[in-house]
Subunit: 340 residues, 2 copies
DNA sequence: AATAGTTTTGCAAATGTTTTCATAAATTGC
DNA sequence: GCAATTTATGAAAACATTTGCAAAACTATT
């Protein structure tokens, strides 16, 4: 096939090979129905022979869409973001878009810099994680007015369509469940809130809900740990080693809960008899523990898919419905938490 | 700032605002050292005032690099690929590249289609997963001669630089370890090999190594299951429920091993006394089980980082060293496997 | 104050497409 | 078999940049 004898082939070399004008080749790709069947065939053959591949960069400077969407997540290698990205990518791929992916590691500065880079590439749309961003980020989006969605965290009054779960609600749900089961001695294991509005919303809601029911979490039972099984295991183990132990431990997400479960095993505590542990997220695998983890499901795949579809629609039709969507969290009761 | 009064700003509007010619603005970005300090200042101000963002598409048609790298993985939401992608992305970001990411779901047809799309975007380089690809894929890369690396699986004689672990070796190592501990009644739980040379290499090596030691794995102890904790849990549970049980179960990867560990717990088997379970991968969290999972570490982050650096170097300097690299697997002995 | 040399800037052509408008070719109606 | 349509193709301008070359603006030297 493609016998590129030397230089890269462009639309002109194809035109020569097919003995038509460059415009006709352009039409072959963009409005094939305008061409006579025979010329279409001729061009098709020439394209194959030359091994020609369309140049989107050249199209893009004509104001034609670049076919790319910039996706910005805190980090790719957390199950939950990986799932969102996968679902998002699949959804927009169906509409012909390819994603530019980058991670900022919870650094607002980096987020701004990456966003600029996306815009240099003239992405057709942007998907950010969370609602909380640097003022400069919002200004940039505003000034370039490129379609944007905010994934993961939902808030009705958001400036841009937000598609995700209400993390405050999730925190509320899990603590209400724990309270309903009669727990009063409750400890918490949170992810750090810096640059992470999801984590912040959850911890806030959890503590408020408990407080509203008259349950005060003592300072030394409010643990904070980075997103890591080993770290949370260490901290939870320490907690479990104290003389006075909580009857329930609420974790800010399932990864932290996973660490806590292992810590319990190591401390010789049986779930749920000796201690109840709950999480938030319902990550892949959370259902498979023995006993399964009681948690609040945040529908990552649904969020990613929905966000992708909304953004693609907004790009293709500027007047499309740009309202966000709440992908409701859902209490998933398994065996890791019992009534007292 | 950026008070875009209407239309998007281009290099010409900036030039007007700074009272210089467009060429000078272009030089401001590409060869600032050629400009007088005062004009540089003037342009800087104009750029800010106009909210101008460079247009990489327009640069790209001048043969200038696009600054993008196409990354193609089977799926994003497997821990292991997420880690590789994260490390890869970080590495190339340092060199100014942004990644175009897509997943093919183990479908060779889709891989080809995505690759074409990458090339339409004029990516500066390509990173594929695994060594085994459709002939058309190789032809395409060949014809466009764009720098390419193959990640994840290592083979010395590969046509393109391959950066990864020797999966065959990994399989060999884990089975040798199991054999050395005296196990003879060994079962296996593999991932499907279709479109997945990593999985294929591992299963092959495991069975061969066992056979070489005179251990034959009966047909009904050779289980195959998709990459999923719940599926492998189901299958392993079934295996454990039979009257005749193996003393050791070798799993094709840590996810499958995770399922098997849960299955053992449900079946009331204690690790490692009642059954030994080992995996391959050393995924995040594998060390935290109680007891920890004995496995062979495939250094995902190192692979991703190294692959990114190699590719970036190959792009920037066509004569750069393009040999692959073997990121050696490493036996990690924890508590899930005991001597018999 | 004039010259030579150097630094800085602008002009115009080039890049690979798309698109508008005009023209040529094919088809239809009589 | 000719005019009137309709359909298919080409020429040229446009898109947002970069770059080679030449002109202009400075500096330094006398």
């Amino acid at each position: 096939m493609s016998d590129r004898n030397g230089k890269k082939s462009d639309i002109i070399s194809v035109a020569k090979a097919a003995r038509v004008s460059p415009s006709t080749v352009s039409r072959y790709f963009n409005h094939p129905e305008l061409l006579k069947l025979t010329t279409r065939r001729r061009i098709e053959k020439a394209v194959r022979k030359e091994g020609y591949i369309r140049n989107r960069a050249a199209q893009t400077i004509h104001g034609i869409r670049s076919g790319t969407i910039g996706v910005l997540v805190p980090t790719i290698d957390h199950t939950i973001f990986a799932e969102v990205v996968q679902a998002f990518s699949d959804a927009v791929a169906e509409e012909g878009f390819t994603i530019l992916l980058a991670s900022h590691g919870y650094d607002p500065q980096r987020e701004y810099a990456i966003l600029r880079k996306f815009l240099e590439h003239r992405v057709d749309g942007i998907a950010l994680t969370g609602l909380d961003h640097d003022e400069a980020v919002f200004q940039l989006i505003e000034s370039q007015d490129v379609p944007t969605v905010m994934m993961w965290n939902y808030a009705a009054e958001s400036l841009y369509p937000s598609i995700g779960a209400d993390n405050e609600l999730a925190g509320q749900m899990i603590s209400q469940h724990v309270l309903a089961l009669g727990h009063r001695a409750v400890a918490c294991l949170f992810a750090p809130g810096a640059g992470n509005d999801r984590a912040k919303a959850r911890s806030r809601a959890i503590l408020n809900t408990l407080a509203a029911a008259g349950v005060v979490v003592p300072q030394d039972w409010q643990l904070t740990t980075v997103y890591s099984v080993s770290e949370s295991k260490r901290q939870a183990f320490e907690l479990f080693s104290n003389a006075r132990r909580p009857t329930a431990l609420i974790c800010g997400n399932d990864i932290l809960a996973t660490g806590a479960i292992y810590a319990a095993a190591r401390a010789g505590l049986k779930l749920p008899d000796d201690i109840s542990i709950v999480g938030i997220g319902d990550f892949k695998g959370s259902s498979e523990f023995e006993p399964g983890l009681t948690t609040v499901r945040l529908p990552a795949r649904r969020i990613g898919r929905r966000a992708g579809m909304t953004l693609a629609a907004a790009i293709k039709d500027p007047d499309a419905d740009r309202t966000g969507a709440h992908c409701a969290p859902e209490l998933v009761i398994r065996g890791s938490c019992r009534a007292i």
